[in-house]
Amino acid sequence: MTIWMDRLIKPSPTNEPPAPGAQLRNDLAVAVTVLFALFLALGIRSQVYSASQVAVLNQGALRIAYPERWVQRSAAESGANIDGSTDAGFIAVNLGSPSTYDSRVEVTSRPLSPDETLELARFERGLKLSSEVSGYRELEATVMQVLNGLPAIAATYGFVADPTRDAGATGLPVVVEGQDILFVQDGVLYVVSLRADAAEWGANAHDFAVVTNSLRLQAPPTVAAAASTSSGFTGDAQLEGGN
């Protein structure tokens, strides 16, 4: 310790100023130190973004990751509208959301009915949401695939929520943006819903990526994706719209 203090107070025995070349060397050393620190900070940020925990649903049939700092909640606690017939009801919310509407991931599941297809299930889901939430509007739907190549549909929508009124306070309603990922695994329809205040949707991209990466959500090898916001069922290759 004494040595360190001596070096701090009297870094050299010469008591003469450094040459210009030595000063340039000092500048470079400082620049390298600062850049290294900032590079380290990028790594820490990446570590925070990717920190996750895993929820096991339906006796291990589905494993889904969500951000570690998010808190698992019951449907009643979160005020979520979850289909009463769900088996794998799972909700995790980000209590640190800047919005009054906490960012969240919800997972529901139910057995697929006979003769029911993924497209029909998605149509029913849209109808159900339009009756349950205020101002529901589907924005886009895309054919995707999850896990080991299972067909899936990713539907993006918006609606108006009133979280402060639900909590007994007064505040402005919130426009919520959501994305449902629907897929069928072993005869069970899973709906993974990602929702956030529309103004915070972009800021939640890293958190939602934890969920979608665990599902290995990606576009199918052949470009069969189509989007539609029109009503009516027009065929297998095109998805029907919502409301």
Binding site: P17, V30, A41, R45
Partner: protein, 320 residues
């Protein structure tokens, strides 16, 4: 700028009469800042009568006030050998402009600090050190290095602290500007405390880096000396804001006075340490100068037990 140090080109002991003024100026500065806070808290009710534009203008004026108070008090106490005002102002403005140019791109665009830094205690601590502290230290270093480091007016070790604090105050001013603009004005009571707390944090951490720069200006230093100073300054900045943020006091809990007390305490500790380091460094300089003036060699009057190497003998612990 002569506050307490012995000038490099003066006989030893010539500056002794002015030595106590460094800590006195810090104490006076803290008192002035507390008065600033008290006055604006007494006027807090006035804010309710102002519209948004007036609140923003008042907030911007408030954002500059702590920095100007600090500069004016230091300057008034520097009557014996004042630094040119243009240099002090130039360093302050350079720090301010660099912070204005770098803050948003680095904090918001590259790192998006709001989204992740507060998630865990360790991310908050490391983020404050590696981003907030490092960027602040880099700006201070850059401002002092570019504007004044090679200037003949930079003629004693303590000048490094004075100029670094001026640059740190520029960073603090931009931090306060951003706070005012993001909140569309400022609550006079809470805002004044928040601005003082930020100003104390940036200025006191900058003083540490200023000490290292003052040493490097007049002595050949090891390669890790200045990077060590940058790292220490960044660490202190990060710890300061980490402790402030984690002490639980913020605008929501309404316990901002605790922030102020924590800030004043930490500033006194840091500045006290800097004052001690400067005094020790100047004593060392005086000792060496005295030895040289009397024609003695380094071996003649060692202050502590000595270690002899091939051709140079120095105080214990010094590398040769």
């Amino acid at each position: 700028m002569q506050i307490s140090a012995i000038p490099e080109n003066r006989p030893p002991g010539a500056g002794a009469a002015r030595r106590p003024s460094f800590l006195r100026s810090i104490t006076l500065e803290l008192l002035a800042l507390i008065i600033f806070v008290v006055v604006f808290n007494l006027l807090a009710g006035v804010g309710a009568a102002l519209d948004d534009a007036a609140l923003i203008l008042l907030g911007l004026a408030m954002a500059v006030t702590p920095a100007l108070l600090w500069l004016v008090i230091f300057y008034r106490l520097d009557r014996a050998e004042p630094e040119p005002r243009r240099l002090v102002a130039g360093v302050y403005l350079t720090g301010l402009l660099l912070a204005a140019a770098l803050r948003v791109p680095i904090f918001t665009v590259i790192f998006a600090t709001d989204a992740w830094m507060g998630v865990y205690w360790w991310s908050q601590l490391l983020g404050n050190i590696l981003i907030v502290g490092m960027v602040s230290a880099a700006i201070v270093y850059g401002a002092v290095r570019v504007v004044v480091f090679d200037n003949p007016e930079f003629d004693e070790r303590l000048d490094g602290i004075i100029y670094a604090v001026a640059a740190g105050l520029g960073v603090a001013t931009i931090s306060n500007f951003v706070y005012v603009l993001q909140h569309g004005g400022v609550d006079l009571g809470i805002g004044s405390i928040r601005m003082v707390v930020d100003t104390l944090g940036y200025a006191s951490a900058a003083s540490i880096l200023g000490y290292f720069m003052g040493q490097a200006r007049f002595e050949k230093t090891p390669l890790i000396y200045l990077p060590g100073g940058v790292l220490l300054s960044a660490t202190l900045t990060g710890l300061y804001f980490f402790l402030i943020e984690r002490s639980g006091a913020n605008s929501f809990t309404g316990d901002v006075w605790r922030d102020l007390l924590v800030g004043v305490f930490l500033t006194l500790v840091i500045m006290g340490a800097v004052a001690w380091l400067v005094r020790r460094a100047n004593e060392e300089t005086a000792r060496v100068t005295q030895l040289s003036a009397s024609g003695d060699s380094w071996e003649a009057k060692p202050a502590t037990p000595t270690i002899t190497t091939s051709n140079i003998t120095t105080t214990e612990g010094d590398a040769v």
